[in-house]
C-alpha cells in the first residue's frame, strides 16, 4: 500500500475533525487574548468570562480541551479504519495509544 493509496484510511474524516477542533481552539484563544489585552474582563461581568475550570479561565480551558481532542479523535478514527481494513496490528496500536492518553487525562480530572 502506498502513501497515496492510504488516502482512504479515513483521511477525509480526520482532516475535517482536525480542522474543526483546531478552529475551535484558535477561536477560543483569539477571544481570550482580545479580552485580556482590551481589559474587557474588567467591564464585562459575565459568568462565561469569569468562570474557570481546573484553575484555568473558561476560554483557555476550551482552547486546551479542543487541542486535547485532536489526537484523541484522530486516533479513534484511525483505530476504527485500520480494523475495518483488517489491519488489526495497526488498529490495536492506535487503541493502546488512545487508552494511555485517556488514562493520563483521567488522572488530572480525578
Amino acid at each position: 500500500m502506498t502513501a497515496i493509496d492510504e488516502r482512504n484510511l479515513g483521511e477525509d474524516l480526520i482532516l475535517k475533525m482536525m480542522k474543526l477542533l483546531l478552529m475551535i481552539s484558535i477561536t477560543m484563544s483569539i477571544a481570550s487574548v482580545i479580552i485580556e489585552i482590551s481589559f474587557m474582563d474588567q467591564y464585562i461581568i459575565s459568568a462565561m468570562v469569569n468562570a474557570s475550570l481546573l484553575g484555568i479561565d473558561l476560554l483557555e480551558f476550551l482552547a486546551i480541551l479542543a487541542l486535547f481532542m485532536i489526537p484523541v479523535v484522530r486516533l479513534s478514527i484511525m483505530a476504527i479504519e485500520f480494523c475495518k481494513l483488517g489491519n488489526y496490528i495497526n488498529g490495536v496500536t492506535e487503541s493502546v495509544v488512545l487508552i494511555i492518553i485517556l488514562v493520563l487525562a483521567a488522572r488530572i480530572v480525578i
Binding site: 497515496i4 484510511l9 482532516l15 483546531l22 487541542l67 492506535e94 495509544v97 488530572i108
Partner: protein, 282 residues
C-alpha cells in the same frame, strides 16, 4: 491574572517564528520554542517545556492538515512508530520532572549537536544515493513530489529498528518538550530510507500524540501556565501554516541544510545556557 500586552505580543511573535521553522523542518517547533522561552524570557525550563508541548501539539495538527491534504503523510508508518514514541514520551516526561534545569539545558544542547552532526555527515556521504534511494529491497511506497511534479518511489526498510529507535526519540521528546521530530525525522530518513519530505510530514503527524502525553503529565504537575497558552496557540498555528506551505516548494537538499544550521545554533545556545555562560544575549 493580568499579563502585559507587550509580553503577550512577544510570546505571540516568538511562537509564530518557532511554528514556522518547526513546521518547515518537521520538528514541531519545540526545539525553537523551549530555548526561546528560556533564553529570551528567562522562563524556568520546566515551564517552557510544559508550554512547548502545547505549541508542538498545535504545530503538529496545523501542519498535518496541509501534509495529509497533499498525500505526503505516511499514516501507516506513523501508526507503527507511535506506540514506542508515546511510551518513551511518558518515561521522558517523568524523568524531566525530576531533573535539574541546567542538566536539561545541557542534554538539550548535546542532543541537538549530535543531530546536526549526523545530518551533516549524511549530506556529505550519501548525496546521490540519498536522492535515488534503495528500491526493491523493502515495502514499496510512493508520494507526489511537488517541486518536480513527479511521483517518487521509495522502499520502507528496517521497520524493527525504526520502532525501537522511535521509543528513544519519544524519551527525548518527553524529556525536552520537543515533540520528537528532531529525532524521528533522522530515524525515518536515515534508517528507514524514507524521503525527508515524507519523514517530516509523518513526524508532524505522529508528534501530536507524543506532545499530548507530555502536556498531560506536565499539566498534572502544575508546570503549564495557562495565562500564556493562548498567544502560543495562535502564534504556532499561523506559523505552522506558513511553514508547511513554504516546505512544499523547497528541495530536499535545501531543507536539510536549513535543518542543520538551525539545530547547530540552538544546540550551542542551550549548551552554554546550561553551563551558565552568557553568549550573545539579546
Amino acid at each position: 491574572m493580568r499579563v502585559e500586552i507587550l509580553f503577550l505580543l512577544y510570546i505571540l511573535s516568538t511562537s509564530f517564528i518557532a511554528g514556522m521553522i518547526g513546521s518547515l523542518l518537521g520538528l514541531g517547533g519545540g526545539i525553537i520554542l523551549v530555548p526561546a522561552l528560556t533564553i529570551l524570557f528567562d522562563m524556568p525550563i520546566h515551564e517552557a517545556i510544559g508550554l512547548s508541548f502545547i505549541g508542538v501539539l498545535v504545530n503538529s495538527s496545523s501542519s498535518s492538515l496541509v501534509y495529509i491534504k497533499n498525500g505526503i503523510t505516511d499514516i501507516r508508518l506513523s501508526s507503527i512508530l507511535e506506540i514506542g514514541a508515546v511510551i518513551g514520551s511518558i518515561v521522558g516526561a517523568y524523568t524531566a520532572l525530576s531533573t535539574d534545569s541546567n542538566v536539561l539545558s545541557i542534554i538539550f544542547g548535546i542532543v541537538l549537536g549530535y543531530v546536526a552532526i549526523d545530518m551533516y555527515r549524511k549530506t556529505r556521504t550519501m548525496k546521490e544515493n540519498d536522492i535515488k534511494r534503495e528500491l526493491n529491497s523493502g515495502e514499496e511506497r510512493e508520494y507526489f513530489e511537488e517541486s518536480t511534479k513527479k511521483m517518487v518511489k521509495y522502499s520502507l526498510l528496517r521497520k524493527k529498528e525504526g520502532i525501537i529507535l522511535s521509543s528513544v526519540g519519544g524519551i527525548f521528546a518527553g524529556l525536552l518538550g520537543v515533540g520528537g521530530g528532531v529525532i524521528f525525522v533522522p530515524i525515518m530518513n536515515r534508517i528507514m530510507n524514507v524521503p525527508i519530505k515524507v519523514a517530516i510530514a509523518t513526524s508532524s503527524f505522529m508528534i501530536g500524540a507524543t506532545s499530548l502525553v507530555g502536556m498531560l503529565i506536565f499539566f498534572n504537575n502544575g508546570f503549564i501556565d495557562a495565562v500564556i497558552v493562548s498567544p502560543i496557540i495562535i502564534g504556532m498555528f499561523f506559523g505552522a501554516q506558513l511553514g508547511s506551505r513554504i516546505n512544499m516548494g523547497l528541495t530536499e537538499k535545501l531543507l536539510t541544510n536549513i535543518f542543520i544550521l538551525v539545530v547547530i545554533y540552538i544546540a550551542f545556545r542551550m549548551f552554554t545556557n546550561g553551563l551558565g555562560i552568557e553568549v550573545f544575549n539579546i
